[in-house]
């Protein structure tokens, strides 16, 4: 070795993103003018040598000394060809490692002065160990990266003796990136170089293993699916061979056929088809399979466009209604009106009717009768006690066991989109944390909204606008206002005795006879017997008890016939005691004698009207006003108003004012167990108190009702028909009513109107004059007296 290191100068090829190792061939392409000039200069020499240095940054186009790694490779150009203008393809072979001394960047190409940097030649057992480890690792990596790699490749690896060459080969085989490759080229010892390669290769193997794992997993998943598919295809083929249709396939096909035949609106059909194609993709065992099938069944069964033909024969409808129900003129008129509208405009919105009335007056059967008259389907759903919105609107299909709501279910049962849908007991809707069914009803009953009613289960718009909704209720006060607002109220007041008699003769008796198998000849129940039953054995606004009683009579007669010792018989009122035992209700007979302080009031109850007596008594040396008989607040207040009015007009009634100061009053309203409320007992209270303080008895054959004000006005009240009927039942034929209620008398049957006497009161004085005749006289004289005095 000379002291002076060898230094020579050669053209330089700067390399982007790659490192040329000694001993290795590398194809290169040269495009930069500088590189082309360098190659041409090198080729012009005898030995065709160039220097190859790797750029630190691949994006630099004209590198300076600092842009190149200081260690590179001297190479010989083995082959050169031109791929096009200004583009060279080269094959270069690395010769030796060199260190850069000085880079000459003058034009036209880079030249460098370099000094050879011989490759390290250290030997140790570590190197041997690393070498064999590397060969093994490389084999592994090769197997992972290219399972089909030619055997020779592996042979080359193991046959290699020079550890550095092995390192270089591996580096280029696994395409190390430039930085790593450069580090390998610069390695000062073989051990270092091998360690580097080992480290990189280990990482590479891990990455490859992971990649392989991922792909095999993906593949095995796919394989399972493919396998299932294949098996299913085979099963189908076998079934076809056997002449059986694949279960689920047949099902899907059936559904498709039905879909094609069904007359569905376009958007519904689209949705149904989408669900069907989902179904076809599912194996029949899938949990969704049944869900979708039931859903499709439902969609198919719903009457999307199917409607029944309305019978528009008004005369016939009237006849049907009359056949089924006696009386109820208003309701029948309203139905016929709607029929008339339908005749002129077939697309008319159906009204939403609400029948309000006591139990047993025939609200529900009226619904059926309407359906019959219109020739529509009838469906009924009871809302009583319903407290879950989902019952009306259904559950979304995501829930297990989801069902459509009751409305859609009813539509399915009806099989037509224009049935009469009766929502029974709308006043008995419940509500709780699950939601408020009344709110859902708002949508259903709104003609503006129910054209596109969306059930949660179906999630498709269903047209409810053709449905004739009929709701029933016993009382209105529990129905939410917005709901009440949407409905057309039709009141069915209780029936009068005469009406009941007619109903019994026309419907109840024939029905019961038929049920017991008797003929009209075998058992006849004359009118007075029926009257006896209605007055003594039943107390109701409707006719249910009456029907039961007639049924009992019929059964007793039937028993006699069955025992064989009876011929046709006529049931007399006297026979009733024998049959039923003593009368359970004493006739609400007017009290014949009434002491001062008692007045006859009239009350409205859910079962019709009732007569009630208000009793007042003085408590000498007592104080204030005591009220008993389960009176509500409004009623208590009206009692106080009555007392104040009497007190303030004590002079007019010639009452000693000391009475008010020195004694208390107790007012009691029997029957004590029944809660009562409302302002309509005001006039009765006033009458009772006036009678009490004046010690003049009120007339026992006069009943009264009306609200009073503190200044003595009498205000109109509700339930006139029921109250008047109750008075008549009790045998009281004179009724004092507020003047404002005069118009309500039209609701009364004509014979009742003719039979009864009505007094219309504007002021409390009018009431007192009619109810307490002696007081009336006293007031008259007081008046004349006052006039005299004034004169």
């Amino acid at each position: 070795m000379s002291d002076q290191p060898v230094v020579y100068e050669l053209p330089v090829l700067p390399l982007k993103n790659a490192v040329l190792f000694p001993y290795l061939l590398m194809p290169l392409s040269a495009g930069r003018p500088g590189s082309i000039a360098a190659v041409e200069a090198a080729l012009a020499t005898e030995s065709k040598e160039v220097l190859v240095f790797t750029q630190r940054d691949g994006d630099v186009d004209s590198p300076l000394q600092g842009d190149l790694y200081p260690i590179g490779t001297k190479a010989v150009i083995r082959k050169m060809s031109r791929a096009g203008e200004g583009h060279l393809e080269l094959l270069v072979l690395g010769m030796e490692r060199v260190a850069l001394v000085k880079l000459d960047t003058s034009e036209p190409f880079l030249k460098a002065r370099v000094t050879p940097l011989p490759l390290p030649e250290d030997k140790s057992s570590e190197i041997e160990a690393l070498q064999s480890a590397l060969i093994e690792l490389a084999g592994e990596a090769l197997a992972l990266a290219q399972p089909n790699a030619p055997q020779e490749l592996r042979g080359l690896l193991s046959a290699n003796e020079d550890p550095l060459r092995l390192a270089f080969v591996l580096a280029s085989m696994f395409s190390f990136d430039a930085e790593k490759a450069q580090a390998l080229l610069e390695a000062p010892t073989r051990a270092e170089a091998l360690r580097l390669v080992h480290r990189y290769l280990t990482h590479e193997v891990q990455v490859l293993e992971l990649r392989n794992k991922i792909t095999t997993e993906a593949r095995s998943e796919m394989n399972k699916e493919q396998r299932d598919y294949l098996l299913r295809q085979q099963m189908r083929a076998i079934q076809q061979e056997l002449g059986e249709k694949g279960g689920e396939q047949a099902e899907a096909e059936q559904l498709r056929e039905r879909l094609e035949k069904a007359d569905l609106p376009e958007d519904i059909l689209k949705e149904a088809n989408r669900e069907l194609s989902r179904l076809e993709k599912l194996p029949p065992g899938a949990p969704d399979y049944n869900v979708i099938r039931t859903y499709l069944d439902y969609v198919l069964e719903l009457p999307w466009r199917k409607s029944t033909e309305d019978s528009l024969d008004i005369a016939k409808a009237r006849q049907v209604l009359d056949e089924d129900h006696y009386g109820l003129k208003d309701v029948k008129e309203r139905i016929l009106e709607h029929l008339g509208v339908l005749k002129l405009n077939p697309n008319a919105k159906a009204p939403i009717l609400c029948f309000v009335g006591p139990p047993g007056v025939g609200k529900t059967s009226l619904g059926q009768s309407i359906a019959r008259a219109l020739n529509r389907k009838f469906e009924r759903l009871s809302l009583g006690g319903m407290h879950d919105e989902a019952e009306l609107r259904g559950h979304r299909r995501t829930y297990i066991g989801a069902m459509p709501g009751r409305v859609i279910q009813a539509m399915r049962r009806a099989g037509a989109n224009n049935p009469v849908l009766m929502l029974d007991e709308v006043d008995k809707l419940g509500r709780d944390f699950r939601g408020d069914p009344a709110a859902a009803l708002l949508e259903i009953l709104d003609p503006e909204q129910n054209k596109t009613f969306r059930d949660n289960y179906l999630d498709l718009p269903f047209d409810l606008s053709k449905v004739l909704f009929v709701t029933t209720a016993n009382a209105l006060d529990t129905i939410p206002r917005p709901l009440l607002d949407r409905m057309e109220l039709l009141r069915l007041a209780g029936y009068s005795e005469e009406e009941k008699l007619e109903i019994a003769k026309r419907y109840l008796l024939p029905k019961q006879l038929k049920e017991t198998g008797l003929s009209a000849e075998q058992c006849s129940i004359p009118d007075d017997t029926i009257r006896w039953i209605t007055s003594r054995y039943t107390r109701e606004a409707g006719v249910r008890q009456l029907e039961r009683a007639i049924g009992r009579v019929a059964r007793k007669i039937a028993l006699r016939f069955a025992e064989g010792h009876a011929e046709s018989c006529v049931v007399r009122p006297d026979d009733l005691i024998e049959m039923f035992g003593p009368e359970p209700f004493s006739q609400e007979q007017a009290r014949r004698e009434m002491p001062p302080g008692v007045a006859t009031g009239l009350a409205w109850t859910e079962t019709g009207g009732d007569v009630l007596y208000i009793e007042a008594t003085l408590l000498p040396d007592g104080k204030g006003l005591t009220l008993t008989g389960q009176l509500g607040e409004v009623m208590q207040e009206s009692a106080k108003a009555a007392q104040s009015y009497i007190w303030s007009h004590a002079g007019d009634f010639e009452i000693d004012p000391a009475l008010f100061r020195n004694s208390g009053v107790h007012v009691h309203v029997p029957a004590g167990a029944i809660p009562k409320d409302g302002p309509s007992a005001g006039v009765t209270m006033a009458t009772a108190l006036a009678s009490l303080y004046t010690k003049l008895p009120a007339r026992s054959d006069v009943a009264m009702t009306g609200e009073i004000t503190l200044t003595g006005l009498v205000l109109p009240i509700g339930g006139v028909k029921e109250k008047v009927l109750a008075a008549r039942r009790a045998g009281i034929l004179t009724v004092i009513l507020p003047k404002g209620n005069q118009k309500d008398l039209r609701d009364l049957p004509e014979h009742v109107r003719n039979e009864m006497k009505f007094v219309f009161a504007e002021r409390v004085e009018d009431v007192l004059r009619a109810a307490v005749p002696q007081l009336g006289e006293r007031m008259e004289s007081a008046k004349t007296h006052r006039i005299d005095h004034a004169a």
Binding site: L28, E40, S81
Partner: protein
């Protein structure tokens, strides 16, 4: 300049950069080896025989054909070369003669005569 593909390769014997092709003949009195060494000057070739191994090494220096011309493409390998051939018999004592003919190097090795001499 960048690596065109990820192809890798390496040359066999380290310092040499290329290997000439060779034919081997059996002759009546020994062996004839023919090397494809066109364009190599006679003084740049060295033949060594060590045991059964015959090696030919040297340098092919490019000769510039004309002034002012430049390569359009290049396929011939230049620079150092070496080719070793393992012979079936020991040739250490063979008589070796070299002849350059039309760009081929003929290496003649006569063994019979030697044996006769012994």
């Amino acid at each position: 300049m960048r690596s065109r593909t990820k192809i890798w390769a390496f040359a066999d014997d380290a310092p040499a950069l290329w290997q000439p092709s060779a034919d081997v003949y059996r002759t009546r009195d020994g062996w004839l080896l023919k090397f494809d060494l066109a364009g190599v000057r006679a003084e740049d070739v060295m033949v060594t025989v060590r045991g059964r191994r015959v090696s030919v090494s040297g340098v092919r220096r490019d000769l510039i054909v004309e002034e002012g011309c430049s390569y359009y493409s290049m396929e011939i390998s230049y620079n150092r070369f070496e080719r070793s051939i393992e012979m079936p018999a020991d040739l250490e004592n063979a008589r070796v003669t070299l002849e350059a003919r039309n760009g081929l190097l003929l290496v003649r090795m006569i063994t019979k005569g030697n044996q006769e001499y012994v």
